[in-house]
Amino acid sequence: MDFEAVIGLETHIELSTVTKMFCGCSTVFGHPPNTQVCPVCLALPGSLPLINRKAVEYTIKVALALNCQIQSFCQFHRKNYFYPDLPKGYQISQYDLPLGRNGYLEINTEDGTRKVRIHRVHMEEDTGKLIHSGLTGRISEAQESAVDFNRCGVPLLEIVTEPDLRTPEEAKIFLSSLRNLLQYLEVSDCNMEEGSLRCDANISVRRGDMDELGTKTEVKNLNSFRFLSRALQYEIERQKKILAKGGVIRQETRHFDATTNRTTSLRSKEMAHDYRYFPEPDLVPLEISDQWVDEGRRSLPELPGAKRLRFMEGYGLPEYDAEALTSSRAMADFFEECAKRYHRPKIISNWLMGDFTSLLNATDTAVERSKVTPEHLTEMLKLIDEGVISGKIAKSVFEEMFNTGRMPREVVEEKGLTQIADEEELARLVAEVIAENEKATGDYREGKGSALGFLVGQVMKKTRGRANPELINRLLRERLGGS
């Protein structure tokens, strides 16, 4: 029997505003515990929340970029539950009047472009962080628990999709497109390690010929791309097995354990919280004026899709290149800076997609933090064009620049990497090689063209790569005569 998985994602994104959602405390990550707190985010008696305008602006931008309808009259609600990381005993969130609704995000899959519908985009506040002493790190078995409220009240965006995703791969593509979009909008750093992008998934499985959705489970704690795929794969398989045996899926919330790669039941539907939502009386309803929306629209940067097209049309790049370069705003900006300084876009693209990307990946470095700047790369490309260095040498120059941040000319001079352009010196080396490699020269003379490449390689070896390969080629042919 054929089964089809149906997946919806619920993502939480910490907005990169300077201050928290409802107070003036700093949102900077990684400071000593409880140093970024005030009466409001600690829920001291008598304190009241104030809406952070910047966070609303960011949310408007995201809602627009996700093609949502903007709610002109939107409201905050209290979501009530007890937990030690939630100092008020309720979270200020949005309920039936979220800021954005009914949008979509286009993603590029192997089967082409697909629209993933966005159910809602809303604002809320983050919770504090609990640290449990004890072997399991869980509250139920903790000897002692400590709370750090620094994160408490950081603006959080919740983006919920419709159940439009079908495979773990698609889910991954969606999440990475969403992350890319948010980074383009500069509303969040979307750093999954620091928890500024978190993801839960709703998963169900149905027989291929059914229209109705199967019973879903919600899987929490999918806080990296790897976890997302693994958890989805596991959960889809688990549900398929149950259904194949004629079993029934229990509607429940499940937790993904990254060490075992399994999902385990957290609570059943019957045990689900009743959050007792009601309108937050401490905040007056938020009116999003047309003017505010227009300002948001005007402040939208060029989004990935548009940029991709422009890269193809404006720079004549192949679609593959345009897609790769625009998959992060930092990389796209890097490319454009290079293109301003150097006239051959495809050459730039090759270097960025090739050596640059592999070095970034190998060293786990973000584009923004790379020591190589557009100036480094374009200066180096000019050195190649001028014949100062060979393309092959350039690779090691580039690596040196990447590691040290020094300019190409400096690297080339200090290491003596300039090309040997002196024909006499090269001619002497060519003669040496011919003398040392009788067999290869014989082969060449007998018509084996491939032997020439070997001989060129030998000359290059003697020069440690500093010779101009075209020049060597010519000199060898002249010496050996023939074709």
Binding site: P39, L42, A43, L44, P45, G46, S47, L48, P49, L50, I51, R78, N80, F82, P84, P87, K88, G89, Y90, I139, S140, S145, V147, D274, R276, Y277, F278, P281, D282, L283, V284
Partner: protein, 508 residues
């Protein structure tokens, strides 16, 4: 006349003219507190040392700088749910028994700018839930007019202190009548401003959409002076309204000619005592004799006020009180084995019966499947009540009614009958639901117990209700003094022995 028995504005004038020092006024009030507190229990915390030190500083300031503000140096009682930095703020609850705020409420900051003089934190029903001040962890307050009777609530400590001379003026808060009803029962003036006129920042929340801070004073003039000091927009409170604040003392004109007064039948309800009804009717006659036009009117949805209020207020309270979980501050139960048990024990031990009752009511009303039937419906009723008032105010400048259907009742009389207790606020609650202002002024006595007249106004039209109240006060001439405040009266041994503090909390 003793200093403690004078009006705030009289003392302010004497202080400004340097006829009396702030230290002398403070000493007089502190003496009064020392002699009466064992009987009345108006305070949870008395700032005996601090207030004298502050009084000396203020005297020094006046000597050097000259100009005191209208509230400078007037001994004030502050209801114990208004945050005062470094001075414990208990809300009348065990759960905050040792809670020291790290910041001042906005009203306190404003009063500090006027160099106010707090003499203590006033007793109250726990988290302002109650109409008799019997629901305090620190024991009940007694009514200075008759110590077997309640002072009303929840600002009972504040009202009793002002009536008895244990404070010259007091800060209260009003969610369903908590300023006006105790003011009425203690024979003083209580003003609930329009929702949004006075900042709620630092007022420990009971029901956020209804709570409002206001003054309790000996006369209308003091109320206007006090309102001048605390009204105004506050960036820290999104529900506070940006608007020009008038000088409320300018409204103190004894002239009601041509003013249209409506008397809602729904507030002259069945439960209103005969003597209360008579006094209110006489008050109306007096206003008519002074040139006001007056007629009966009907606001039909008002009869549903109590039902709507007892859904909305507990619903908001159930969320507002969730923060008292033993994690961050306040009481934490000992010996819990896990977090659920800690929550359960902490809140079971920390909250009193009435608070628990309302948390349960509110939690139930918001629960899945019940929300629409209760909370949703109550909000609709609230809208209808708002409309009723809006329509009435197209026709009338003010509405009048009794503040409380009864005079002060006996301590213990209604503690076992919450519904009976809730009816104490039947005339005041509609005003909170509509967010409009109202003032209670004394309009007579029944068997030596004060009766209050409630004057209700349009939103942000505190000026008109002050004007009507002021005019009435000028011509009515209420005898302010409860028997206790007759100079020279000493507590008899009998009176002293009847004092049995039932509260467990330690007063300071």
């Amino acid at each position: 006349m003793e200093l403690w028995d004078m009006k705030g504005h009289q003392l302010a004038e004497m202080i400004e003219k340097k006829e009396v020092s702030v230290s002398e006024v403070t000493r007089s009030v502190l003496d009064r507190i020392r002699s009466l507190e064992p009987l009345l229990n108006c305070y949870i915390t008395v700032l005996e040392e601090e207030s004298q030190t502050l009084a000396r500083q203020i005297d020094k300031y006046i000597a050097q700088e000259g100009h005191p503000a209208p509230l400078t140096g007037l001994p004030m009682a502050v209801k114990d749910l208004i945050c005062t930095r470094g001075v414990r703020t208990t809300c009348g609850s065990r759960i905050l028994d040792n809670y020291l705020p790290v910041y001042d409420a906005t009203v306190i900051q404003k009063l500090k700018d006027q160099r106010y003089l707090p003499v203590g934190k006033a007793n109250m029903d726990e988290f302002a839930m109650g109409s008799s001040t019997e629901n305090s962890y620190y024991g009940p307050t007694r009514n200075p007019w008759n110590t077997e009777r309640v002072p009303g609530g929840s600002s009972g400590g504040s009202a009793a202190a002002v009536a008895a001379g244990e404070a010259i003026v007091a800060l209260g808060s009003d969610t369903g009548g908590s300023i006006r009803q105790p003011a009425s029962l203690c024979g003083v003036v209580g003003l609930k401003p329009t929702y949004g006129l006075v900042s709620r920042y630092g007022l420990v929340a009971f029901a956020s959409s209804l709570d409002q801070i206001g003054p309790i004073t000996r006369d209308v003039q003091d109320a206007a002076i006090f309102l001048n000091a605390i009204a105004g927009h506050d960036v820290m409170d999104s529900t506070s309204v940006k608007r020009e604040i008038p000088d409320y003392t300018k409204a103190l004109v004894d002239d009601v000619r041509g003013l249209k007064i409506g008397v809602p039948q729904e507030l002259m309800v069945e439960g209103v005592e005969m003597k209360v009804r008579d006094s209110v009717n006489q008050a109306i006659e007096l206003l008519v004799s002074l040139g006001a036009f007056c007629e009966e009117t009907s606001l039909p949805y008002l009869e549903h006020s109590l039902s709507a209020y007892y859904i909305i207020a507990p619903a908001e309270a159930s969320a507002n009180l969730a923060r008292y979980d033993g994690v961050k501050y306040g009481h934490r139960a000992r010996g819990s084995r896990n977090i659920r048990e800690m929550y359960k024990k902490t809140r079971s031990e920390g909250f009193g019966a009435e608070v628990k009752r309302r948390i349960m009511l509110g939690t139930y009303a918001l629960s899945a499947g019940y929300y629409e039937a209760y909370y949703g419906q109550a909000q609709k009723v609230r809208t209808l009540i708002v409309n009723d008032f809006r329509q009435a105010f197209q026709k009338y400048d003010v509405l009048v009614s009794p503040t409380s259907p009864t005079v002060a009742f006996k301590i213990g009389e209604k503690v076992d009958n919450p519904l009976q207790m809730y009816l104490s606020d039947v005339c005041t609650i509609p005003v909170n639901l509509a967010g409009i202002p109202a003032i209670s002024v004394p309009c007579g006595t029944s068997d030596g117990l004060p009766i209050g007249l409630q004057i209700i106004g349009r939103a942000f039209d505190e000026e008109t209700i002050l004007r009507v109240a002021y005019t009435f006060e000028q011509y009515f001439g209420f005898n302010q003094s409860p028997p206790l405040t007759n100079p020279g009266v000493q507590l008899t041994e009998d009176q002293k022995s009847q004092v049995q503090m039932s509260g467990e909390g330690r007063r300071r």
